[in-house]
Symmetry: C2
Subunit: 175 residues, 2 copies
């Protein structure tokens, strides 16, 4: 798979992106709008501005969550992936996903979000592929998630199967 890293290790780039370390991946972008907008980078750095993340989640209409708990969740996630649009010396958080894991067998992906302005360009797919690749590189064999009905086809397109062999996702509610 064509893939290259483009770590912002030189002082110039570092000054433009702060502490976040980024990788550039091959992004299958539909149309040229994202190209016009800027270059797309991915990161596994978990030092994300929580207000910027909240803004992203607001943009897709998610309920707000206490930042103290979001911080804790990020800290204790096995993998945190973020997607950035970089234009000149500015970067903008446009996507996010994270995974819990036992570091050995299983990982579960949560909180997958792409900013509405950047949806429909294949960027959600690119974010997920980046996330899956990272989990696979850590030798995680069982990658799972819980998908809302309207995104089932999106995940199917990435190789996810719902209810394989009749296995059901279940949620606990107090009786």
């Amino acid at each position: 798979m064509g893939f290259w890293k483009s770590w912002f290790s030189d002082s110039d780039a570092a000054s433009t992106t702060g502490a976040i370390q980024m990788e550039e991946d091959v992004v299958p972008v539909n149309g040229d709008r994202a190209n016009r907008n800027g270059r797309i980078f991915f990161s596994t750095d978990r030092d994300i501005d929580l207000y910027e993340l909240e803004e992203l989640c607001d943009a897709v209409g998610w309920s707000r969550r206490p930042l103290r708990k979001v911080k804790k969740a990020i800290q204790h996630s096995f993998l945190v992936t973020s997607m950035w649009e970089v234009r000149g010396n500015r970067r903008r958080l446009i996507g996010f996903a994270r995974a819990t894991s036992d570091h050995a067998f299983n990982a579960t992906i949560w909180d997958v979000v792409v900013h509405p302005e950047f949806q429909g360009k294949g960027l959600g797919k690119a974010l997920m592929k980046f996330t899956i690749k990272k989990l696979r590189s850590e030798d995680i064999s069982n990658i799972t998630l819980f998908a809302d009905p309207h995104v089932l086809d999106f995940y199917r397109g990435l190789g996810f199967i719902s209810d394989p062999e009749g296995i059901k996702g279940m949620f606990w509610y107090p009786n």
Copy 2:
């Protein structure tokens, strides 16, 4: 809820159970066989003999997994619960479950097992209730799992709901 702890803190009990710290919970046992067999204790201590755990998993016909990875998974699980039969100065591992988590919002329960000799007595239910109680005490609001078809009713009886609001459990397989 009637619940008491019975930590093995005195030297006598400690010598019988080794390093494992245990709690006694109210166990709704069907019939008197388990009572005849011994008292049932629960523990969240993750210092479990991996060979004893392997023996338990063998007993229910699970595929063997590398102990190195099992050790890593236990180490990196948020919660590890085990169930023990204690008779005199001997203890036997008869049940196990563990959960991954982000320590803030979500937990996913994996590897729920009860030794066949102790099934059908309500002990699986007791193990799960103990596990749920521990997760709730850590302020985890979203408790999830992936259930095989033949145990769906077991989990439903504990308050788990499959596919709530059409949310589907999905597993990734390489395309």
